[in-house]
């Protein structure tokens, strides 16, 4: 089976800083794949390169077998990529509903009402607050809005960048439950997390990043048991 996303040998630079050093990975249809690693390992940079906000100097990125390396970011959305960026980056001065409408920018107007209802089913809080300005939402609600907004474009692959960042444990649990619900509904997910424990416990496979390179790739359950992973990212255990 052709993977839905195939990233081959990408190298990304910030000026003279070599941030991503020849990363390759893939995501199969229906999987949850997670990229874990410490702060600064290159997880966000990798996602931004897949979504097109950053460009790789080498290699290729293929979506459903098509090379999209030279497709501008805004055109990748129509091809089925959606990214929930780090720090949520919702439009703070726009209403909840307007944020969701922006998520549907590539969709025809006729389907928006139905898609809104679908998002409100996942996130009932957003329905209550649909007229509210997004900047007045709590952190957890903002994360829900960012996820709902991404769902509005009917992504084939949903990329989530640190969805648990800055949230209370109870909210983190809730967000991870929703990720699983989305997965069961047929969405393929690429998840970037610092919370390795939570990410690996819901993922099929995982990649461990360190200073711009993939140092480990395995099934999530195997990574959870791996000594080096336990020591570095899961707070001890195997030592």
């Amino acid at each position: 089976m052709e993977p839905i996303l195939k990233v081959e040998d990408i190298n990304v630079y910030y000026g003279s800083i070599h941030a991503i050093k020849g990363i390759s990975f893939y995501v199969n249809e229906g999987e949850i794949v997670t990229l874990i690693g410490a702060n600064g390992a290159g997880k966000t940079t990798t996602l931004q390169t897949v979504s097109g906000l950053l460009r790789s100097k080498t290699g290729s990125i293929s979506l459903q077998g098509e090379d999209i390396s030279n497709v501008p970011a805004h055109k990748r959305v129509a091809r089925g990529l959606a990214q929930v960026p780090e720090g949520r980056r919702i439009f703070l001065q726009m209403s909840v509903q307007e944020n969701l409408e922006m998520g549907a920018f590539t969709q025809s107007n006729s389907g928006i009402a139905k898609d809104l209802e679908r998002v409100f089913e996942y996130f009932p809080r957003l329905k209550e607050r649909r007229r509210q300005i997004a900047g007045t939402l709590s952190g957890g609600e903002q994360q829900m809005l960012a996820m709902g907004r991404a769902l509005m474009s009917h992504p084939r692959l949903l990329m989530l960048d640190e969805p648990s960042m800055g949230l209370a444990p109870i909210l983190v649990e809730q967000i991870f439950e929703i990720i699983q619900t989305l997965h069961k509904a047929g969405t393929t997910i690429l998840l970037v997390e610092q919370n390795a424990q939570a990410a690996l416990s819901i993922a099929d496979r995982g990649y461990v990043l360190e200073t711009g390179k993939i140092i480990l790739a395995d099934n999530a359950s195997a990574l959870l048991k791996n000594d080096a992973v336990q020591k570095a990212y899961l707070g001890g255990g195997g030592g």
Partner: protein, 293 residues
């Protein structure tokens, strides 16, 4: 009655400032740059209308339309050639480029149309409305300027709050990266903003020259600076702010001229700006939103 007359003149002049200020504020909102060439686009619009109506004897409405079309295209071209290559450059580089573009337009106008002042033909019918048994007279231009401003304001409010492209424009002005992730073509949206701002500048140019009919290559410079002041005054980046700032600036200027001193009117206008910015650095309607973590 004199007071009322000054007030109406002030609102009318302010309406023109507001229309120009909208261009500044929309472009700033989305491109985070001060387009100092904006004032000179006004001048180009006025020249186009002048040549269309007085040299080629086209009807005024056609002249205005032509000015709008030419300025809209000019705005898009300026953005593509001068500003787009500097999208990632430091703010100062963009600012200096904008000032350079302003001088370029003024000097190109000087070469093309010479420094001889042109007498702008009345595109708005001359005449006055007489009220209170002739005690209060208002010229048609005054009324037309105010009406234009109201219509433009309502249209822009509708556009940015109800249409998909208008909302995309607001999204881009908040976060370009996130907008791209929504599938919005950010470069296209910036072009559209320049197009709208420059089209409005053409209308402002025609109104300005109808009220003050001397046209020279530097005609747009001072109104441009004043409208920029109005935009900052109202809160740069805010569309209602440009409206409020423009109208207030016009009223202050006319009152200063009428009751204090004609020579001192400009210093007074700018002094008011300084005071407002000392008290409210974000301008009257400027947004100060704190980010939630």
């Amino acid at each position: 009655m004199a007071f009322l007359s000054f007030l109406i003149s002030g609102i009318s002049l302010g309406s023109i400032y507001a229309i120009i200020a909208l261009g500044y504020t929309m472009v700033y909102g989305i491109a985070k740059m001060l387009n100092f060439a904006h004032g000179d686009v006004i001048m180009v619009g006025a020249y186009i209308c002048f040549y269309a109506t007085s040299r080629f004897q086209l009807p005024p409405l056609v002249g205005i339309l032509l000015a709008v079309v030419v300025c809209t295209i000019l705005g898009i071209v300026i953005e593509r050639l001068a500003y787009k290559p500097l999208r990632a450059a430091p703010v100062l580089a963009v600012l200096i480029t904008a000032i350079g573009m302003s001088y370029f337009l003024q000097n190109a106008a000087l070469l093309l149309w010479s420094s001889n002042p042109k007498v702008f033909p009345p595109v708005v019918p001359t005449g006055k409305i007489s009220l209170f048994g002739g005690q209060l007279t208002i010229s048609y231009v005054t009324v037309v300027a105010i009406l234009c401003c109201i219509v433009i304001m309502l249209a822009l409010t509708w556009f940015t709050s109800k249409t998909k492209m208008g909302k995309a424009m607001r999204a881009c002005s908040e976060d370009k990266g996130a907008s791209q992730l929504m599938g919005i073509n950010v470069n296209g949206t910036i072009s559209l903003t320049f197009a709208i701002g420059s089209g409005l500048a053409a209308i402002a140019g025609v109104l300005l020259c109808s009220a003050y009919p001397t046209l020279v290559p530097t005609t747009g410079a001072m109104p441009g600076i004043k409208a920029f002041t109005a935009a900052v005054f109202g809160g740069i980046g805010s569309i209602p702010g440009a409206f409020v700032g423009g109208i207030l600036l016009g009223i202050i200027e006319i009152f200063a001229k009428a009751y204090i001193s004609t020579q001192l009117s400009d210093p007074i206008v700018f002094a008011v700006l300084i005071i407002v910015l000392l008290v409210r650095p974000a301008g009257l309607l400027g947004k100060q939103i704190r980010e939630k973590v």
